[in-house]
């Protein structure tokens, strides 16, 4: 049963990240996704300090907004500061992440976070962190509820904005010309990435989120010419990665998130050499 919880959590994270990642890689914004997933760390720590626990939806929102703020900061350095875009990304996310790690070590007592845990999470704890109501009813792992909420949110976002996201990803100039704001959808997408990253960090950590944002979509991109199929393949890959990753980690006694990344890479390699 615990296995099932863990694999379910892993799958939901992988699917949420993968779906958004399809848009990121087609927009050539893979590294901005990487940046956001690092940059939300100080937001998470601060939210934790304020809220006192992990449960708040406010934590999700507050920390997620930092992700959007990161996008602004990168743009600011690039436009106003005339700093080249790769350096704008690199400088921004490293200092935000460093800030996050410092906050964790300084407030180690008050914050139930471990600086290594933020790197690779601990999805094995998922079955242990239960949502128990005041009357004692056990609703099951809390994380699964949060992740389901996020997953539903993302699917809704993609369904409702499908054609706008598709259009602004393919041809932002034409989109602007016919009155669809490429800027708006850019920030909406980055916002979605932020919230997903925050929700996922607990299970898989900040950095491994990146593997899930990029590897399954990249693999799917190699396998198909049809965007809808690419989304579906990404979902399937996500579940596969979660299952295989779990068993790999179990068999060698290692981090599940690390194993998931490795499996994601292996699947990509298979697709790459298959061509």
């Amino acid at each position: 049963m615990n296995e099932l919880y863990i694999i379910a959590a892993g799958s939901m994270v992988a699917i949420s990240c993968g779906l958004l990642g399809c848009y990121l890689i087609l927009r050539k914004m893979a590294m901005v996704g990487d940046a956001i997933s690092h940059a939300v760390l100080p937001g998470i720590v601060i939210a934790f300090l304020i809220a006192g626990n992990r449960d708040s939806v406010t934590m999700l929102l507050g920390a997620g907004l930092i992700g959007v703020f990161t996008t602004f900061l990168i743009e600011f350095l690039h436009r106003k500061g005339n700093l080249q875009s790769d350096a704008s990304i690199g400088v921004t996310f490293t200092w935000l992440f460093a800030l996050g790690v410092i906050l964790i070590s300084v407030y180690a007592g008050q914050v139930d976070l471990d600086q290594e845990c933020v790197l690779y999470g601990e999805i094995a704890y998922v079955p242990l962190d239960l949502w128990i109501l005041n009357d004692g009813t056990n609703l099951g792992p809390r994380t699964l509820y949060v992740l389901s909420l996020v997953l539903v949110g993302i699917i809704a976002f993609i369904l409702l904005g499908y054609k706008e996201l598709f259009l602004t990803t393919f041809d932002p100039a034409y989109a602007a010309a016919i009155g669809v704001s490429a800027t708006l959808w850019h920030y909406l997408l980055m916002g979605a990435v932020s919230f997903t990253t925050v929700a996922a960090f607990e299970s898989v950590g900040a950095i491994l989120v990146v593997a899930l944002l990029i590897a399954p979509p990249a693999t799917a991109y190699l396998l198909t010419d049809d965007f809808k199929v690419m989304l579906i393949i990404t979902v399937v890959l996500g579940v596969l990665i979660s299952i295989l990753g779990y068993y790999l980690a179990a068999s060698i006694d290692a981090s599940i998130a690390g194993a998931m990344s490795t499996v994601a890479g292996a699947l990509f390699a298979l697709a790459f050499f298959h061509d």
Binding site: K163, A176, A177, I178, D226
Partner: protein, 264 residues
């Protein structure tokens, strides 16, 4: 030779556009009559693409304005269509020809609505007009340069607009495609649509267009083809930039001068 017309479909008024504080279009004033097939001609870097991009609202204006059908762009967007340069898009994108052409209908659909049967019909009609209806489900990564251009044109046609802006539609395209496209553009012009094309090849100008805009940072001429496409005016357009204008432009950029004074 700058001819102005009454009831223009496009009016550009004292338009100045700068890139990094350096003006690339300076004080452009022109009007275009309905139904013309217009060629925008000028050397590289003259601001031809910039002109249509600024009319389409893709680039901010330093000063001046552009009006279509006597109104601002936002009021008439569904009457205006745009075909960007082919190289602006990644043709490896996982989309089919139908996916791309349907995008032309998105302006008519609101947020949250899906393309309907009528939209698909319009898309197919557009594809038929460019001779690509048999490619409707083909992935765009499998298309040749000429076919890609036709798909871009079909997307614009699917909008069923009244004025069309095309940015270098004949660049890197095979002769058959070029012939097919210009034939279609002429037909559209005959039907009363206005077609404005950024063009790079001087040889074909006389046979393709009935109205010419000669541009080199400033407007050199705008009017019927026979009157504008003369040796003298061409020489002025292509004969090197106005040095003083260039130097002043450089000063503006170096000093990071504000482009047009607001009331100070």
């Amino acid at each position: 030779m700058i001819q102005q017309v009454d009831n223009p479909v496009l009016e550009v008024h004292d338009l100045t556009v700068s890139y990094d504080k350096k003006p690339v279009l300076w004080g452009i004033d022109l009007t275009i009559p309905q139904g013309s097939l217009v060629g925008i001609i000028g050397p590289n870097g003259a601001g031809k693409s910039t002109l249509i991009k600024s009319v389409m609202g893709l680039i901010p204006l330093g000063s001046g304005y552009a009006e279509l059908f006597g109104k601002s762009l936002d009021d008439v967007r569904d009457q205006v269509s745009y075909v960007p340069q082919r190289g602006t898009v990644d043709w490896d994108f996982p989309a089919s020809v139908m996916d791309v052409v349907l995008m032309g209908r998105y302006g008519k659909l609101g947020l949250f609505s899906r393309p309907k049967k009528a939209d698909r019909e319009a898309a197919l009609t557009a594809l038929r007009q460019v001779g690509m209806e048999s490619y409707v489900n083909r992935q765009i990564s499998q298309l040749s340069g000429g076919q890609q251009q036709r798909v871009f044109l079909a997307r614009a046609l699917a909008q069923q607009a009244d004025i069309y802006f095309l940015d270098e539609p004949f660049a890197g395209v095979d002769a058959a495609t070029e012939k097919a496209i210009i034939t279609l553009l002429r037909k559209m012009s005959d039907e009363g649509k206005t077609v404005i094309v950024v063009h790079h090849d001087l040889q074909s100008v006389e046979t393709y267009f009935n109205w010419i805009i000669l541009l080199n940072t400033r407007l050199v001429a705008s009017g019927p083809m026979e009157e504008v496409f003369t040796q003298q005016l061409l020489q002025e357009t292509y004969g090197g930039k106005l040095t003083l204008l260039s130097e002043v432009g450089n000063l503006l950029k170096k000093g990071q001068f504000p482009n047009r004074e607001k009331a100070i």
